[in-house]
Amino acid sequence: MAFDERQYKPGPEGLWHEAGPYGAPDEVLVIDAKRTRAGILGSNNTLMARTKGTVGFIIDGTCRDSWECIVQKTPLFCSVRSPAHPMGRLQVISDNRPIVCAGVPVNPGDVIIADDDGVVVVPQEIADEVARRASLIQAKDRPQRRRGYELLGLPLDETVE
């Protein structure tokens, strides 16, 4: 058997398979990979996942082919960049079960919100109240920023409109 075949062969001889299906409408894939250097997420599988509806990727571990991921605008947060393949380096523990990712417990179905400041998990039990309060907070902040834009003569953008 050749290397390429053995790499993905199902069953005991195969050395790599993914924990579960990548790609579903509106999901954020949240992966605990123990901050290892093994590129579970790459340019090809993130692209395919997005065609099935995935809107974001969070991995405490490696993204590889990262320049291609940037060029194709993959919405991804990672703790490591490395070219290494996961085969021979990682094994599957679970799919869609409670995990701890980057220090925070995450249950399937919890809200994940992410931007340049970082990634926040909101447990589903408190999501309604958190969303309500967060909206109130932003509603106070935005008009103040808009006044600043106007005073400085800056063109308005989507963060103040």
């Binding site: 990979a33 605008k73 991804l76 589903q124 309060r133 909206s135």
Partner: protein, 71 residues
């Protein structure tokens, strides 16, 4: 209890800083922000949606040298 479409729509209009301020106001500081080692691939990425989780762990398997293509 699954998150409603209306709540998810609200999360898609706010910043992570609005969310952490909201959590602070509920007495839930320092619990839900992931390690800042997690960084976006490029500036300006933002999203809010529901988690599909996966876990992997280290294994050490010897990769044998062999031909790349099938004979």
């Amino acid at each position: 209890m699954p998150v409603s479409k209306e709540t998810l729509a609200l999360f898609r209009t706010v910043r992570t800083s609005d969310v952490t301020d909201a959590l602070d106001s509920m007495g839930l500081q320092e619990r839900y922000e992931m390690d800042p080692a997690l960084r976006p691939l490029y500036p300006g990425i933002c999203f809010a949606s529901l988690a599909h989780t996966m876990e992997y762990d280290i294994s050490v398997d010897k990769l044998m040298a062999m031909s790349y293509e099938a004979m």
